[in-house]
């Protein structure tokens, strides 16, 4: 038999019963705090966060809309115990319910502390705090990068101190968020951009004081890794003196406050000017003493025996030089005179050898016409040959009438007239 069941009016449609459940749940359960461990955490590209809260025996689907997620100070992750404030919402389309979270905080200071300690240990093991990796802070930066909130007190403090101490330094701000969950990525980007920009000598990264939650971005792993990767030295200045963040530990130098960071970054120009003056004064003093030493040495050299002796040697040389000059001059003059006289004599002797002079002394030159030569012997002469006889003055035309061959030379007859 067919049982028609309840009458038509008692039957719910799926939509109707779902609506009934929705109304019941959403009105009967007030906004509640739920504590549990995060699992299956995911961030949708829209910015909304989806995850489950679970304990040993149950789990609850959760959603945190983008607008609210922006106010988170830490990055939720699997395994973290949290407290969520929210209300149950039914998602009719799937017939599921989920906790719509308005606020999410770690389950306690202990929870945050544990996360902090775990990260610290992990990064320490990886060597991110290694002093060997820390870069020196340049003593005289000319450009300083500042990564902080454009509206915070930290920026104002840093600027004031830089301007007072070293006004010529160029200050370049990369404005960032410094709290809330979105600050993490913003700070990471800022560090990377400063490095890419490349023109700053040192970076001051920080923010003013606040609650542990306010400072939390500086305890996040992503920030720590960006600080570690920075080629530009980073001075970290987060919060007050007592606040120690992971960022402080990784940075090349930790300053207790933003003001202190600025003081570390630049020397006081008054001190530097004084140092400069001392340097130049010390240079001057050294040169003065060096010069006066030279002068002293010079003076003592002037007065020394060897110097005076060398002066004497010079004078003696001078004298000798004069003597030599005189001697040489007189010798030369003498020599010239002698030579001149010799020359005159020579000229006299030569002139006496000239044929004309000989002829004038009574000798004669005899020109043999047929043979066309002056006669030296009788060898080729013949009777009746014509001759020209040249005398000291004038000449004679003559003819040979007789040839006398004579063995005795004419000169011999002269030299030995007694024979």
């Amino acid at each position: 038999m067919w049982d028609d069941g309840p009458s038509r009016s008692d039957i719910f449609t799926v939509s109707a019963i779902t609506l009934e459940i929705k109304e019941l749940l959403e009105t009967q359960l007030p906004t509640v705090w739920v504590e549990g461990e995060i699992s299956n955490f995911s961030r949708h590209s829209s910015g909304h966060l989806y995850f489950s809260l679970k304990d040993e025996s149950a789990q609850l689907a959760c959603v945190m809309w983008r607008m609210r997620a922006g106010a988170l100070f830490f990055l939720p992750r699997d395994g973290l115990r949290v407290r969520a404030l929210g209300s149950i919402r039914v998602y009719e389309k799937r017939g599921t319910y989920q906790l719509d979270i308005a606020r999410l905080i770690p389950a306690g200071f202990g929870e945050l502390q544990a996360a902090f300690e775990a990260l610290k240990l992990k990064l320490k093991d990886e060597g991110l705090f290694d002093p060997l990796h820390k870069k020196p802070i340049p003593p005289f930066p000319e450009r300083i990068g500042i990564i902080t909130s454009p509206t915070g007190a930290a920026l104002r403090d840093i600027q004031q101190i830089l301007n007072r101490r070293m006004p010529f330094v160029q200050k370049i701000l990369r404005p960032t968020l410094v709290q809330g969950e979105s600050a993490v990525q913003d700070i990471v980007n800022a560090i990377e951009e400063m490095n890419e920009f490349g023109a700053v000598d040192v970076i001051i990264l920080g923010r003013g004081g606040g609650t542990l939650e306010d400072l939390w971005a500086f305890n996040e792993e992503a920030v720590a890794r960006a600080v570690y990767a920075s080629r530009v030295p980073i001075i970290s200045a987060v919060g007050h003196e007592i606040d120690f963040t992971i960022c402080d530990l990784v940075a090349d130098l930790r300053a207790p406050t933003p003001s202190a960071a600025a003081e570390i970054a630049v020397k006081n120009s008054v001190d530097v000017a004084q140092e400069l003056n001392e340097l130049i004064l010390s240079c001057r003093r050294t040169i003065d003493s060096c010069l006066s030493n030279y002068r002293k040495t010079l003076r003592s050299m002037e007065q020394s025996y060897s110097f005076r002796r060398s002066a004497d040697v010079v004078r003696q040389r001078q004298q000798r030089l004069d003597e030599l000059s005189r001697a040489i001059t007189s010798y030369c003059l003498h020599k010239f005179k002698f030579q001149n006289e010799k020359m005159i004599q020579l000229r006299k002797r030569f002139s006496s050898l000239h044929p004309q002079a000989v002829l004038e002394r009574g000798f004669a030159l005899v020109w043999h016409k047929r043979l066309s030569q002056f006669m030296k012997t009788t060898d080729d002469a013949c009777v009746d040959d014509d001759l020209d006889i040249h005398l000291g003055k004038g000449s004679l035309a003559a003819r040979i009438t007789k040839i006398v061959k004579l063995d005795v030379k004419w000169r011999d007859a002269f030299d030995e007239p007694n024979h």
Binding site: P138, E142, K171, L279, C283
Partner: protein, 76 residues
């Protein structure tokens, strides 16, 4: 001293020169040269210290290029 010398290099060089001079190994000619150089560096550093650059530049990255804009100085 060339055009690209910065304050840090100039200062370091001054310290170096002071040390060399105090070492007393330089000849008279070298000493005078060092002193001339030191004087020039000193002038450069002193001039730099007197320069005031109190402006705050704000950097932003737009389409892979960096822009520097001067932020109006607040009269604090």
């Amino acid at each position: 001293m060339n055009q690209t010398t910065n304050f840090e290099q100039a200062f370091a060089r001054l310290e170096e020169i002071a040390a060399i001079l105090e070492g007393g190994q330089a000849s008279l000619d070298e000493t005078m040269q060092y002193f001339e150089e030191a004087n020039e560096l000193f002038q450069f550093c002193a001039a730099k210290l007197n320069q005031a650059e109190e402006k705050l530049y704000v950097i932003s990255k737009k389409q892979d290029a960096f822009q520097l804009e001067i932020e109006e100085k607040e009269q604090a």
